[in-house]
Symmetry: C2
Subunit: 99 residues, 2 copies
Amino acid sequence: MFLALANPVRRRLLRLLADGPRTAGDLANQFELSRPAIAEHLQVLRRVALVRDVPQGRQRHYHLNAEPLAQVGEWLHPFERFWRERLRSFADVAEEERS
Amino acid sequence: MFLALANPVRRRLLRLLADGPRTAGDLANQFELSRPAIAEHLQVLRRVALVRDVPQGRQRHYHLNAEPLAQVGEWLHPFERFWRERLRSFADVAEEERS
DNA sequence: TTGACATGTCGGGAGTCTCCGACGTATTTT
DNA sequence: AAAATACGTCGGAGACTCCCGACATGTCAA
């Protein structure tokens, strides 16, 4: 999961798919990389269920399945208070200065 | 950043530090790994500013600096709607079934 | 000052990641 | 049926990750 997100190409793939489904070749054309490289990245994303593929004729439409990302959100949650607290205290200071 | 979180040992280090500062040796004792291994993980976390170290005598106290994690939250944000929508529609279905 | 202690860093081995060209497979077109 | 298209996967090269034992550095205690 975190490992799948550790690669910038895969993160960009996910962002692209957030705008709607795309074919494998279409996705590959968005990068400087070779088509096999993208195919392998898509395989990684498929393994952690972040994308699903729907064969359609000789093409293959990939679409996002963002739900597993919720796990990341859950992991992140206990830490949120740290930067939110910091933001709140910053706001408080601003508040104080205004009065 | 994402790369730093890609390792389970480093994620566990961060969770440990969320409860308060600890010395390097103390942290190392929480793992089956050798002390040098932990020292290197801490170096990675230091490089992305997720931890800070405060030398104190011959020990070194590490403490969490969670702010860079906000970047992860920001990256995640555009995807949140996907699973939140799904959760809402699930709730709607439950609501419907009850009536 | 000498010895013990807490820690960082180096060298190197085993495994993994990332990438590519080449090849195999299924589907559509001619 | 044959050629073209859209893919996936394989073999292998190069870089990187993770780990450890050994060593270096700095600090406190006797």
